[in-house]
């Protein structure tokens, strides 16, 4: 992994991933299999497209009235007995979690899946402050043992083969060397986590949906690990982004029908758990986090990205993601959706991500809340260039291209001089010994262009 951490450019990281073609094929096939399962599941719902449109419109309403819904949610949550915290950024969020744990003198915490805490790098922060965190989602636990980031928001360790997981478990959980039987490994993790669940006094979960009308929140898992953690602990902390709000309970059905069909092709998540008030003698905290979301809300072209319900369908369908792996996006959220969210947080650091796409548009088509992902990728490219986060050589070559293509005379001269298009567009950019040649032959230049043929043969 050290190779990957030394560089932070999608193309370079993807090239490293592609050095092992058999692995790329395996990764691609695995995710395509999930995309295919998704297709089977959604085709069983005859009004699927209506459902997507409905969800998109509900979220539209939420984003347009976010301040009101958040206040409504807070007020209802408070009257349910939940403690509500507001965090402007990742730092504040992490500090709030730490202060809750310190107040109760808790040094160990169990955590179910939460992409928000990945975004905030909560684990690193807590470890640095002497708090031991164990991820209870099996995939998250595996990447935690491997000291890696999740490579996928729904399938955190999808980049790992079962043999590699067997080796990790051998090192960390004492399973026999060479045992890669998924059932055996899962059972081992289950036994190991059972002990964690029983001994942890604090549990952190994510939030899939927060219902303004009732002040309750819903957490969706397939493993029941969020429930196990939250019910056994004295303190339940739930972290949510401000965009997780839905107005009323009746809207939940729309999203629950969409979420897991889009994610894995299941009709519904195994556990869709509602949390409304703390049990007697226990505490329930919600941390509502902004961390750049209100800036994104103010970007007219990109605000719809906040509709995302984190299903991962755009990753499974993305032909680039499948062949470059989640880590090549060097961000907590990878794939197409990560590529439109990340530049909002740090435009310079993530300037490469909107370019890691062919703009094929498949992501937009599978998105259950109809985010125009590929259009936003295109628009981010324009914003990134205008803000100057683009190599000077690329800028210069684009200016030459503009000059040539704006003038018929220059274009025809350049064409005759050696087939302008082949030399410059689109092959001109980053033309380090012409990357096209590495795996592909050039087209054979014809005797004459169509323009030349036309002059001789017509009129």
């Amino acid at each position: 992994m050290s190779e990957i951490q030394n560089t932070t450019n999608h193309a370079d990281l993807a090239e490293v991933f592609n050095n092992d073609e058999a692995r790329v094929d395996w990764h691609d096939e695995t995710l395509w299999w999930i995309r295919s399962k998704r297709d089977v599941a959604v085709n069983k719902i005859s009004n699927w497209e209506v459902l997507r449109e409905t969800a998109s419109q509900i979220k539209h309403n939420v984003l347009s009235n976010l301040n009101n819904y958040l206040q409504q949610f807070e007020s209802n949550a408070l009257s349910n007995g939940i403690t509500v915290h507001w965090a402007a950024d990742a730092k504040e969020h992490n500090q709030i979690v730490l202060s809750i744990l310190e107040k109760h003198s808790i040094g160990q915490m169990v955590k179910s899946k939460s992409m928000l805490t990945e975004e905030c790098h909560l684990n690193d922060f807590l470890e640095a402050n002497g708090i031991n965190v164990i991820d209870s989602d099996l995939g998250e636990r595996i990447v935690q043992l491997a000291k890696e980031m999740p490579s996928h928001i729904v399938l955190p360790c999808i980049h790992k083969k079962k043999e590699e997981i067997g080796e990790l478990f051998h090192q960390h959980l004492g399973t026999p060397a060479g045992n890669a039987d998924p059932q055996f490994l899962t059972e081992t993790a289950r036994q190991h986590l059972r002990d964690t669940f029983l001994t942890r006094r604090a549990a952190l979960t994510g939030v899939n949906f927060a219902i303004a009308e009732t002040g309750e929140f819903v957490v969706c898992t397939n493993e029941g690990n969020a429930d196990m953690g939250a019910h056994l602990a004295d303190v339940h902390i739930a972290s949510m982004g401000i965009e997780k709000i839905i107005p009323e309970r009746k809207h939940l059905g729309v999203f629950l029908r969409l979420l897991t069909r889009s994610a894995t092709g299941q009709p519904i998540t195994t556990y869709s758990s509602h949390f409304k008030r703390p049990n007697k003698g226990k505490e329930m905290h919600i941390i509502i986090v902004d961390n750049g979301r209100s800036i994104q809300l103010g970007r007219e072209d990109f605000r719809n990205s906040l509709k995302c319900i984190r299903c991962g369908a755009c990753m499974n369908t993305c032909p680039v993601y499948r062949r470059s792996g989640g880590h090549s996006y060097h961000n907590a959220i990878s794939g197409p959706i990560g590529s439109i969210l990340a530049p909002n947080l740090d435009m310079e650091k993530y300037a490469d991500l909107p370019f890691a796409s062919t703009l094929c548009g498949s992501c937009t088509n599978v998105c259950p809340v109809k985010i125009d992902i590929h259009q936003q990728l295109y628009k981010w490219r324009q914003v990134i260039v205008k803000n100057g986060y683009v190599p000077a050589a690329k800028k210069a070559s684009m200016q030459i291209m503009d000059w040539t293509l704006s003038s018929p005379t220059a274009y025809h001269t350049a064409g005759k001089a050696g087939r302008f298009v082949l030399k410059y567009a689109p092959f001109m950019v980053n033309n380090k010994l012409n990357p096209w040649y590495k795996h592909r032959d050039m087209p054979e230049p014809p005797k004459e262009s169509f323009g030349e043929w036309y002059k001789k043969n017509r009129k």
Partner: protein, 244 residues
């Protein structure tokens, strides 16, 4: 009906055969078609690289060349989509809107405007059809596998009019070939891997030819086929529809 023939720059320079087939077929179908000689490029390579603000010259030139026609037809879903989404004129926005409404990708002009029902073509070969993303998902030339919606295909309906052609099924009906404009060099590793995988699907299913509405995707796949020493050829759909 006066039709302006829009030939994308790389087709003009590298695939004159595709352009000639478009011209000849439109003429056969009784269309009065003219190729304005001062055309260059739609500006897409710059725009997709984040330099849409540099495409003003291309836009002006396109408007100058094509505003006088009843329809403008081009053999590329990608270039046509770019113009439909981004052609603009700062001083006269309406002139750009009017023109982009008259702009058609070649196969959809045949199915939607000329309403072609038969073609005199014959092509006794096994052919794999590549669904170019911008034509398919952008211009809706055919149904997309992601959606729960009825099947249709404009290029497919035309190919079905060709005598003795055998269209081979693909394992992944509408996966991108990985060309993606500047993506093909900026992301060389993923791009060429996508191209290899796409070509393999056609080869595995017995295609002798790969066709589609976009020469750019076909150029990409041709580059891979050549490198592999394959005898399988690429042909723009117009070359098949204009067959003997």
């Amino acid at each position: 009906m006066k039709v302006g023939l829009f030939i994308p720059c790389y087709v003009d320079q590298f695939y004159p055969g595709a352009a000639i087939a478009c011209l000849q077929l439109l003429e056969k179908l009784g269309v009065d078609v003219v190729y304005p000689k001062n055309q260059t490029c739609c500006g897409q390579p710059m725009a997709n690289s984040g330099f849409e603000h540099l495409t003003g010259g291309c836009n002006d030139l396109f408007i100058k060349n094509f505003s006088g026609f009843d329809y403008v037809v081009g053999p590329s879903g990608s270039c046509v989509l770019h113009l439909k989404e981004h052609l603009h004129n700062h001083d006269n926005p309406e002139i750009a809107t009017t023109l982009s409404n008259k702009l058609y990708e070649f196969t959809s002009f045949l199915t939607d405007v000329l309403k072609v029902k038969t073609l005199p073509a014959r092509f006794p070969h096994k052919v794999g059809v590549h669904q170019s993303c911008h034509g398919q998902r952008g211009l809706h030339l055919s149904q997309m596998t992601e959606l729960v919606a009825p099947e249709f295909s404009k290029p497919g309906s035309l190919l079905n009019m060709v005598k003795d052609i055998e269209l081979v099924p693909l394992n992944r009906k509408d996966e991108c070939c990985g060309f993606g404009g500047t993506f093909c060099v900026a992301e060389e590793a993923v791009s060429s891997k996508m191209g290899k995988d796409r070509v393999e699907d056609h080869l595995h299913n017995g295609a002798e030819y790969i066709t589609g509405v976009d020469m750019s995707c076909l150029m990409h796949m041709e580059g891979i086929l050549h490198r592999q020493g394959s005898k399988v050829k690429v042909l723009h759909i117009a070359e098949i529809l204009n067959g003997e």
